[in-house]
Each structure stands twice: as C-alpha cells, then as structure tokens.
C-alpha cells in the first residue's frame, strides 16, 4: 500500500513528505556518521530520490565519504538536525533519510549494519543483523562462534 510519509527537523524549519514506500533501512557506523549522529550510528531509511519533497531552508555539506563516494548531507540550519544523505557520485542511488526525522521513526527496522569495523568498543550491535565491515557491498563479518 502506497502511503505518504512525513517528517520534520527538531525546530520545524524543515519539513518533508515522501510519496513512496521505503526501499530498506540500514545503520551506518562509519566515523563520519558517528560524528554527525552524536556518537551513534546513523539510522538511514532508503527512498527513491524523486519521491522526497523538502520545504524550508536547509544547509548542504558535501564531502568524500569513507567509501570514496561523494555524498551531500542535508541538515537544518536552524537546529542542526541531520536530514538526509545523498550520493552525488555515483548517481542513481536511493536517498537516505535519517530515521530520526521521520514522524514515525519505527516505520521500518534496519536490516543491516554497515561499517561495523569502526564501531566503538562500548556499542552493542543487534546480533541478528548482518554486519558488513565496510559498505553494503563488503563481506559480512562472521560474529558467531
């Protein structure tokens, strides 16, 4: 069933609607994500990029990620809330909406853990999820003895 999903930042300056169902969800523990996510992993919900419509002023920070891809990260200039991550090069990848900005953050549960190689020692990962050492195409780390 196709539904419209909504969300906003903490201060309400940025709002968005999504006219598509999520493609998937993943947690990313790369060092860049930990920095912008207050030390935790970013929880990212994947949507087709053309289905997402943002309203309100947003800042965009472009950088080369650990994967080597060029990514653009949107954030609210009023409260600093992280809104999305979009891969500029290579193109065609789904946009990654930060789960915390969705009005229903339980919309979809993460199904994989990315960049498990850089998880801090204190963090505990869900043992039921596959843990990729790096990006989604990297091999899964065998965690069970």
């Amino acid at each position: 069933m196709l539904m419209t999903h909504t969300g906003k930042c903490l201060c309400g300056q940025v709002r968005f609607t999504i006219d598509a169902d999520p493609i998937g969800a993943r947690m990313c523990w790369c060092r860049d994500c930990q920095r912008i996510a207050s030390g935790s992993a970013t929880v990212n919900v994947l949507f087709p990029e053309e289905a997402v419509r943002y309203e309100g002023e947003m800042g965009v920070f472009r950088m080369i990620a650990d994967s080597g891809n060029e990514v653009a990260r949107g954030f609210c200039t009023g409260c600093g809330a992280q809104m999305y991550s979009r891969t500029v090069v290579p193109g065609g990848l789904p946009i990654r909406i930060r789960a915390g900005t969705l009005d229903d953050p339980d919309l979809i549960a993460p199904t994989a853990i990315l960049w498990a190689g850089s998880v801090p020692a204190w963090a505990e990962l869900d043992p039921n999820l596959p843990q990729h050492g790096k990006g989604p195409d990297s091999p899964v780390i065998e965690t069970y003895s």
Binding site: L10, C11, S38, N128
Partner: protein, 192 residues
C-alpha cells in the same frame, strides 16, 4: 591549557578542547535527541563548563524539554554536526556529543552506568557497558535466543520451547498440551 580530549565538527570549522574528565556520561533516547542524531541515541559526555574551550562559530537552538528545563544545543552552522548542549537546570555542566570527540585509544569516553542490555521499541538495543576496559559483549548464543533475538532465559513466558509431541506421529500430537498453551501460541501469532 592541557586538554584531556579534543574534538571538532565534520568540516573542521569548530574545534573543541576539554580539560579534565567528564562528570557524567549518558545516552539519551528522547525524541528530540533522535531527531538531531539521525535516528539513534545521542551519546553525551558532560564536562564542567569552564573546562570546555571552543573555537569557531556555533549555531544554536533552544527548546523546553519534557522536564520543564530549557535545553540549548549548539551545532556547526556549516556542516550541521551536533556539538554541545546545556540544560538551564545545570549551567555548570556542558554536554559534549560523543561524535564530536576525537578518538584517542584507551581514553575515549564511553557510556557507563550499570550493566544492562535492553531491547526498546521495535529494533533498538540500549546498552551501557559497566566496564571501561571491556570490548563489545559477546553475542547471545543461538540456543538462548528467542525469535525476536531476546534472551529467552529471562522472558516472562517462553516464546519458543521444545514441543516433544511434535516428534510423535500425528495421531498423538493433539493429546497433551502444557498449561496456557493456547495463550502462548496467541502471543506467538501476534508477534510475528
């Protein structure tokens, strides 16, 4: 000032230097923290306010929290990295987000307030590691996991159990059921 910890934002516009050790280290799963922290919890280390030196331009946003206190949070206006926060009830403390603190092997702060692991909501696991030196905890052995990944040894009611009658020929299967068997099955159905 000799700083015990250093840090900064993703683009390098803001740098932090913390002298001394954090007073409190906590993880916050409130809805506001999840909005700014991309869905997960905010991991916070509170330092004495006078121990934190900041260079660069900060953006700020304030709101009234559920506690009634006004919570002000600061971030980098050019990359959005959450950096610090302060409650109006505790002006002597300044909270620094973990992500903004540079790694330093053996000395990076970590949440520590009692050894518990709890599953909250549909997917998240909350963890506090009580030991500073412990590595990531070993995963729960398969034989102790229930179908939700929880520890069935501590479940109020077993969600999955050995059902010896299933090994019998079909004619004998429906003879004996344990007490509350239907209730257990109903719970199983509603969870899947």
């Amino acid at each position: 000032m000799a700083s015990a910890y250093t840090g900064g934002c993703a683009c390098g516009q803001v740098t932090l230097a913390m002298a001394g050790e954090p007073v409190l280290i906590r993880q916050c799963w409130c809805r506001q923290c999840r909005r700014i922290a991309a869905g997960g919890p905010a991991n916070n280390a509170a330092f004495k306010t006078e121990d934190v030196a900041i260079t660069g331009t900060l953006g700020s946003h304030a709101y009234v929290a559920a506690s009634g206190n006004t919570l002000t949070q600061w971030f980098c206006p050019s990359c959005g990295t959450p950096l610090t926060a302060q409650s109006s009830a505790r002006p002597h403390l300044l909270t620094v987000r973990f992500g903004a603190i540079d790694d330093r092997t053996g000395s990076s702060p970590r949440p520590r307030s009692g050894p518990t692991t709890r599953r909250t909501g549909r997917w998240s696991i909350r963890t506090w590691s009580s030991s500073r030196s412990s590595r990531q905890r070993r995963p729960l052995p398969l034989e102790h996991r229930d179908r939700d990944g929880g520890d069935m040894r501590f479940s109020y009611m077993p969600r999955a159990c050995y059902e010896p009658w299933n090994d019998l020929p079909p004619a004998f299967r429906s003879r004996r059921r344990p007490p509350f068997w239907n209730f257990t099955q109903a719970r199983l159905e509603s969870r899947s």
